[in-house]
Every structure is written in C-alpha cells, then in structure tokens.
C-alpha cells in the first residue's frame, strides 16, 4: 500500500470520526438525507478484531465486532462508502452520504455544520476521560524519617 495523499488522510480521519459517532447525534445533526442510489445497500456483518502477541509480536484473532457497511451514489454521480461500528443502518447511510458530499461544493458547509461539532464533542469526551484518569494517578511520596 502506497503512502496516502493528503486528501486520503483527510478522508480517512473523517470516516473514522463518522464511524465512532453516536448514531442518534448524527441523525440530529443531519435530519434530511439527499437523494441517492445504492451501490451496496446497508448490510450488517462482523469484522475480526486482532491483537498482537506481547503487544508488538505476531497477530492473533481476538474476537469479532459488529459493523454495518454500505456504498451509495448521489444523483450527480459522487460515490460514498461507509464502514461503521454497530448495527445501525441509518448510521452507515449518513456516514456514506457525508463521504460522498465531502467530495464536492458542500464540503465547507458539512465541515462546519456536522464534522466540527462531532469532532468537538468527541474531544470533550476524550478529555473528560483523560482528566478522570489523571485524577486517579498515584503521586508517590517518601516518608521522611526522623533526624539521625
């Protein structure tokens, strides 16, 4: 696999954000769906998750996770794909629509109205978790013995 281009990196990060997004929140941010035709209707399946022996060694199969995928085409021909965690067909549909819309003139609007809030909310959740973890970090101190 070759080194991804800047566009690919942005698309990758977007698709990751959409895959991790809460489906209800995404639906609230995107109530109306533009017309589209299915290249692959939403389908629920699994992906085998893998770990590495000793964290960095040989891969092994850990277990599966549920994933929903779909591919669609907008009326103007732009194609969008989605692979999202869970079993929500609407979640996958919206993710694929955004993937397609981001390849055209709507990109700036979608970035501002949809991706920006999703990213900010995710950052907030992550910061909250990190801050709670930080509060449970042990601060060791040495007991000072008496003189002599």
């Amino acid at each position: 696999m070759s080194i991804p281009s800047e566009d690919q990196l942005l698309r990758r990060s977007r698709m990751g954000l959409l895959a991790r997004a809460n489906p209800q929140r995404l639906a609230a941010l995107m109530p109306d769906l533009p017309a589209h035709a299915w290249l692959r209707a939403p389908e629920i399946g699994t992906v085998m998750v893998r770990g590495r022996t000793g964290a960095r060694g040989a891969p092994f199969n850990l277990g599966e996770m549920t994933v929903t995928r779909c591919s669609l085409r907008l009326e103007d021909g732009r194609v969008g794909h989605a692979y999202v965690q869970g079993r929500d067909r609407n979640h996958a549909t919206r993710a694929a629509l955004i993937d397609a819309l981001m390849q055209g003139t709507e990109a700036a609007r979608i970035e501002a109205d949809l991706l920006l809030p999703l990213r900010a909310e995710e950052d907030e959740r992550r910061t909250a978790r990190a801050e709670k973890a930080a509060a449970t970090r042990v601060e060791f101190f040495t007991m000072v013995r008496g003189e002599d």
Binding site: G63, E131, R137
Partner: protein, 362 residues
C-alpha cells in the same frame, strides 16, 4: 423398544410461557431496559462480549436480559447470533501502544513514564456492602485533574531496551482462526491466545491459580496491566486504504517471568500475554499466566505434567459453550440408551442370581 416421540409440544409451549413470565418477575417492579443493563451492569456485558467473542454492548445487554442474567446462556445466544452474520474481513491488529488508558498499573516498576493510573477500580475498596445503593441517589461525579491525552508507552519496553526481555517473534499477517478451522493440536501461540481470549473466565482463572500454587510454576509479575480504548482499523477494498471502523475497550496484561536461560538463550525475562475485550482484568491476568505456562516447550522448560502445561487439556476445556452443550445434553431424553442399560443390569443380576441358586443347591 418404542418410545413416545410426540406429545411434548404443549408442555414445552407452556414452559416457555412460564419462562417469559418468570423473566419479567413481579410486574409491580419496573422492567429493566437494555440501556440500563448496558450502562449499569457493564462488567457483565463485557464478559458476555469477551466470551461470546463479539463486541456489541447492546446485543450483550439484550442477551443478558433474555437469559435472565445467566451469563453462559447469554454467551450462547451471542455465539449463535454471530454465526448468522457475514464476515466483512479482518482488522489490522489493534495498537495497544496507542490505547487511551483509563487504568494502567505496574507491579514491577513504581516510577514509570505516564505514572500509575488506578482508574475505576474495585481495588482498595473495603468489600463491605454499600446499603446506600439500595436507595435512589444523585449520580456520583468522578474527580478530574488537567491531563494530557498523549498515549503512554508500554512499561516492558524499558526492559526491551536493555535487552533483558525475550524478543518477540513476528508471525503470519493472517493468523489461524478457530472459528473457521477446527482447533487441532499442536496449537501455535496465536491460536492458543484466541482460544483463551474467548475462554471461560472461571476456567482460565482456576488454571492460572493452579500455576501460582505450584502446578507448572512460572513466577509471574504483572509488568503492566492497562485498560482503555483502542481504534480498530481495517483496509477497505473500495478505497484502497485503511480506515478506522470503530473503537473498542480492551484490557491488556503483560507478565514478566523469570527465565534462567537454556542451551541457546541467555538468562532473561520471558513474557505471558493476555488481551480481553472490555474491562476484565481478572481474565486478562489469568490469560497471561496460562499463556506463559503453555510455552514450556518452546522455552525448553520441563514438562512437570501440570494441567496448565497441557495445551490439549486447557484449550479443549476452556470454552464454556462447548462444555455446557455437552454437559447439559445429558439431561435430554436418553430413554432408549437407558432402557438398554436397564436390560443389561437385569440380565447381569439374573445370571448372578442363577449362579447363587446353583451354589446354594450344591
């Protein structure tokens, strides 16, 4: 010998109706929602996902409700559901170096980069029943402290750097899969880890405990135990590159074990590894102890005949769905089998009786 093969339908239907009523319990008590189980019985949900070998908290919560809290029954439901789904492919291995940790402790080093992070642990609680939980209360709030969200490095890398740890071996990009090929011996380490990761927590715990008590002793230290979330990435054929398809919670345990060296290897530390879906440190620690015990052969150690050193024994008995399936089938009708046993016993007694009569007569 003829036995009735019909006639149970009505009884079965009534039994299932009663099951549904019993599952609901007293209708005066509010019904549990799936979200309540997912949010408030999280560790049960985690266990069902790990041993059901399918990461989906809502499904695991549904299975627990349907199974009336019988976790092995819930795991059975998840395993059965899993078989109905197509598999889209295999993900890239999760990078636990990048884990956003909620807990991260080491029993080998006190001062480590990133520190010892306790997380939401039962450790240091007094194990006294908290009667305050019987009453409705306000939702408790965790303390917070400003934090960096940088990933924390693995502690064992410190020993790696000094060359004191056994080197890790790389393997096939596509590891063997016991859900696709029957588990056969000898099983290599990736296959053993897969079996242990979905194995019964109680069984793996007891096997690990047996090594601590001297049956295949390996002197394990918990080098690092971490719990947190990791991204799952997969190559998408339509795109030609990998994307994140989600995020899962994992528990990882790396043990450091004494190793005095062999003919070919210098004295060094060896590794045991445990990785489990969800928050389950008892299982992750157990898994790494059993993983290490099963490595006696490749490390040139003595086989003391301990159960935890016997891969066939451990791997063929750690799956609670296989075990319960075979165990519980003996309660199903065996009328014909038993009739033949009955005939045999009667015949043996008749023959013995005839003998005795003959002896008495003589």
């Amino acid at each position: 010998m003829y036995v009735a093969t019909k006639g149970g339908e009505r009884a079965i239907e009534a039994a299932h109706q009663w099951l549904a009523e019993a599952r609901r319990g007293d209708p005066a008590v509010p019904e549990l929602s799936i979200a309540q189980i997912r949010e408030q019985m999280t560790l049960a949900v985690n266990r069902v996902m790990a041993e059901g070998s399918l990461y989906d908290p809502d499904l695991a919560a549904l299975a627990i409700k349907q199974a009336r809290g019988d976790l092995i029954e819930a795991i059975f439901l998840i395993r059965a559901y899993r078989t109905t789904l197509p598999r889209f492919g295999g993900a890239l291995p999760v990078e636990t170096d990048e884990m956003a940790v909620t807990r991260r402790i080491s029993a080998t080093f006190k001062d480590v980069p990133g520190g010892q992070v306790l997380g939401p642990t039962f450790d240091y609680t007094h194990r006294l029943l908290d009667f305050a939980l019987m009453a409705d209360g306000d939702a408790p709030q965790a303390a917070r402290k400003p934090a960096e969200t940088q990933p924390v490095p693995h502690i064992l890398q410190l020993l790696d750097r000094d060359g004191l740890m056994e080197p890790l071996t790389q393997g096939e990009a596509t590891p063997p899969d016991l859900t696709r090929e029957p588990l056969e011996m000898p099983a290599d380490r990736p296959l053993r880890l897969q079996a242990l990761a979905r194995g019964d927590e109680g069984f793996v715990l007891s096997m690990a405990y047996s090594t601590q008590r001297g049956y295949g002793r390996t002197h394990a230290f918990v080098g690092e135990l971490r719990i947190g979330t990791c991204a799952v990435e997969m190559e998408i054929p339509e795109l030609g590159f990998a994307v994140e398809i989600g995020e899962i919670e994992l528990t990882e345990c790396e043990t450091v074990n004494q190793f005095t060296g062999s003919k070919t290897e210098p004295a060094q530390f060896t590794r045991g590894y445990g990785l489990v879906m969800g928050q389950s440190e008892r299982k992750a620690i157990s898994m790494s102890l059993v993983d290490r015990a099963l490595r006696w052969d490749e490390l040139g150690e003595e086989n003391t005949g301990a159960p935890a050193q016997d891969a066939e024994f451990v791997l063929y008995h750690c799956d609670n769905i296989q075990a319960t399936g075979f165990l519980e089938h003996i309660k199903l009708p065996h009328y014909v089998d038993f009739q033949s046993e009955l005939e045999l016993i009667r015949k043996l007694r008749r023959d013995a009786g005839a003998e005795t009569c003959k002896e008495a007569a003589e």
